[in-house]
Amino acid sequence: MADTIWVYAEINDDRITTTSLEMLAKASEVGTAEAVLLGPAPDDAAQTLANYGASKIYRCADAVYKDYLTLPAAETVAGLIQKHNPAVMLFASSYAGRDLVANLSARLDCGAITDVGDFELKDGSVVATIPALGASYQNTSTLVHAGTKLLVVRPKSFEPKLNDKPLAVEEVAAAADEKLRRVHMKERVEVKREGPSLEGAKIVVSGGRGLKGEEQFNMLKDLADVLGGAVGASRAAVDAGWVPYAMQIGQTGKTVKPDIYFAVGISGAVQHLSGMKTSKYIITINKDAEAPIFQYSDFGIVGDLFKVVPQLIEELKKRKGA
C-alpha cells in the first residue's frame, strides 16, 4: 500500500528494543505502521508492538533467525516485501539491522539510505534527512527506484509513543532452505559491566585522545561513579585500543542523549559530535582552547584534565558529604 511503513522489530535483553518502538512512532505518524518480528521473543512482544502502533505484525518464532545470522531473515523479509510491497521499510542502525539491509539491497537490487535521522513520505517517494560527515552537514536524500525503500534509522531519532492498535498477527513460514544456515551463531558471551548502560545513563563521562592511555580511564570511571553515570569514549581512544568499541560514541559508535555530557580530552571531531551533540548540557575539559568541542559546550575549562578531573571528583565527594 502506498503509505504502509514496515518496521523490522528487534529483540534485545528479552525485550523489544526501544529503537523498534521509536521507529513505530514515526511510521504511525507518516502512514500505516506494520511490523516484522522474526525469531524467538517473549510472549508479550507482539502485543507491545501493537501497543506502540503496529496495526499488523508479520511473525515467525522459529529459532533459525536467532541461530543463523542475516541470511534466513533476509530470505523471509525479501519474500514479504515482494508479496506486500510496503512503501518503506525501517531498520535500526544496529548490528543486525545494517547487515540485513545490506543483504536486502543486493538481493532486491534496490537502494538503501543509512544513518537516517528523519524522513517524510510524499506521493510514495521518501525524503530522508541524514546528518553527514559527522554533524557538520545535513543532507537530504531520496531513492529513485520502484518498490520498497529501505532506510536504516539512527537510534533516538524519535520518541516512542503509545498508540493502541488491535493485535493482528499474521504467521509466516520459517526460512527452511539449508543454504541459508551458513553463518552460525555459536555462542553469545555477555561482558558484565557495572553501573548504568551508556544509552540509558543520565550522565556520560567520555574520554578521548587527551587521556593518553588505558589506565587514565579509571579516573573517568571514578568521576562517572560519583555522579551515577557511565563512561564513553571517542573513536581516537577506541582506535588506540585503550577502551573497547562498545564504549565508542559517535557516528560509527553509539548515539547518546544524556542530561550531562562530559567531553574530557576530546577535540570534537565531527564524527564524535554526531553521537552526542543533542545532550542537554555539554561540559568540556581540554587543554586546547581552539578545540572545536568548545563551540558546542555549555561550560568549558581550558586546562590540564589531569588536574581538573581529580579536583572535580574531590569537590563532588566533599559536597556530597556535606
Binding site: 534485545n12 545470522l69 542475516t70 541470511l71 548490528y95 545494517r98 547487515d99 539491509v101 545490506a102 543483504n103 539491497s105 543486493a106 537490487d109 537502494g111 538503501a112 539510505i113 544513518d115 546528518p131 553527514a132 560527515l133 557538520s136 552537514y137 545535513q138 543532507n139 537530504t140 536524500s141 531520496t142 531513492l143 553463518v183 552460525h184 551463531m185 555459536k186 553469545r188 558471551v189 555477555e190 573513536r235 582506535d239 585500543g241 568499541y245 562498545a246 557516528q251 560509527t252 564524527q271 575539559i285 563551540q295 558546542y296 559546550s297 555549555d298 568549558g300 575549562i301 581550558v302 586546562g303 590540564d304 581538573v308 578531573v309 572535580l312 571528583i313 569537590e315 559536597r319 556530597k320
Partner: protein
C-alpha cells in the same frame, strides 16, 4: 589461503572535506590521500592470516588516481598485488553501485576469504561489504573484533550490544573487521622498495562487464537532494583553568541543579 582485501583510499584525516554544491559530493580531488585506517586494519588482518596459513593478499580498491598513494602503502605493508577500479564513469556511485563494481573485480580473482572494513572512515554507510557478500554469494561475518581460520572454517568474535558473539562459517566467506581489531604495521624500507615492483591492475567499469547505467551517478538509486549546515549550537562559557577548574565545574553542576 588466498585473501582479497577490499578497502578505500580516502582524503587524509588532516583534510577538512568540503562538499561541492553542484555535484553534492565530497571534494576528494586534489587533496592529500591516505589508505583509510579502517582499510589498513583489514590489510593487516589479511597479512596476519596469510603469514600463518600461507597464500597471497590482493587489495581491491576503487577511486581516482589520488588513490595510488594508498595502494602503494598497502603494497609496502606486504600486500602481493592490487586491483584499482579507475574510471570517471564510476564517480557518484551509491553503495550498491560500488558493491557491484567491487564484487565484479573480486570475481576475477581466486580467493578463500574477502576481508573488508565495517565502514570507511569518510562515508560510514557500513553496508557495502554486506552487499558484496550477497552479490558474490558469500556468507558475511560482520563486526569482527577477532578472526581465526582453522580447517576450512572461519570463526570470529562479533561485537554485540552486550558483549560479543562467537560466529562460525565455512570458507569461502567475507569478514568485515571492526575498528581497533589490530594495530596495522608501518611499511618498512624493504617493503616500500618491493612495492615499486608490484603489480597494480587497472579496470574500468566496462572491463568488469558493467554498463554506465548500472554504476556511477547514472546508476545510483540514492540521489542527494540537498546539503546544508545544521544550525550551530550556541557556545557557552569557557574559562581558562587557574587552579580552580574542577571546583568551577562543580559550581556549574550545582547551578543546573545536578548536585
Amino acid at each position: 589461503m588466498n585473501v582479497v582485501v577490499c578497502g578505500k583510499v580516502i582524503p587524509a584525516s588532516t583534510v577538512i572535506i568540503e562538499i561541492d554544491s553542484s555535484s553534492k559530493r565530497m571534494q576528494r580531488k586534489g587533496v592529500p590521500h591516505e589508505l583509510d585506517p579502517a582499510a589498513a586494519s583489514a590489510v593487516e588482518e589479511g597479512l596476519r592470516l596469510t603469514e600463518k596459513h600461507g597464500g597471497a593478499v590482493v587489495l581491491v580498491t576503487m577511486g581516482t588516481s589520488d588513490a595510488t598513494i594508498g595502494i602503494r602503502n598497502a603494497l609496502a605493508m606486504g600486500v602481493t598485488s592490487a586491483v584499482h577500479i579507475l574510471d570517471d564513469a564510476v564517480a557518484g556511485s551509491d553503495t550498491l553501485g560500488t558493491a557491484k563494481l567491487l564484487a565484479a573485480a573480486i570475481k576475477k580473482l581466486e580467493y578463500d576469504l574477502v576481508i573488508c572494513a565495517t565502514e570507511s572512515s569518510d562515508s560510514y554507510s557500513g553496508i557495502v561489504h554486506g552487499q558484496i557478500a550477497q552479490l558474490l554469494g558469500l556468507p558475511a561475518l560482520t563486526f569482527a573484533k577477532e578472526v581465526a581460520v582453522e580447517g576450512g572454517k572461519i570463526t570470529i568474535k562479533r561485537q554485540s550490544e552486550t558483549g560479543f558473539d562467537l560466529v562460525e562459517s565455512s570458507l569461502p566467506a567475507l569478514v568485515a573487521c571492526s575498528s581497533g581489531i589490530n594495530e596495522p604495521r608501518y611499511p618498512q624500507l624493504k617493503g616500500i622498495m618491493a612495492a615499486k615492483k608490484k603489480e597494480i591492475k587497472v579496470y574500468t567499469a566496462a572491463d568488469l562487464g558493467l554498463s554506465p547505467d548500472q554504476v556511477g551517478e547514472k546508476g545510483a538509486r540514492e540521489k542527494v537532494l540537498s546539503i546544508g549546515r545544521p544550525p550551530k549550537r550556541q557556545a557557552g562559557k569557557a574559562v581558562v583553568d587557574e587552579g580552580e577548574g574542577g571546583k568551577q565545574i562543580a559550581d556549574f553542576l550545582a547551578e543546573i541543579k545536578v548536585i
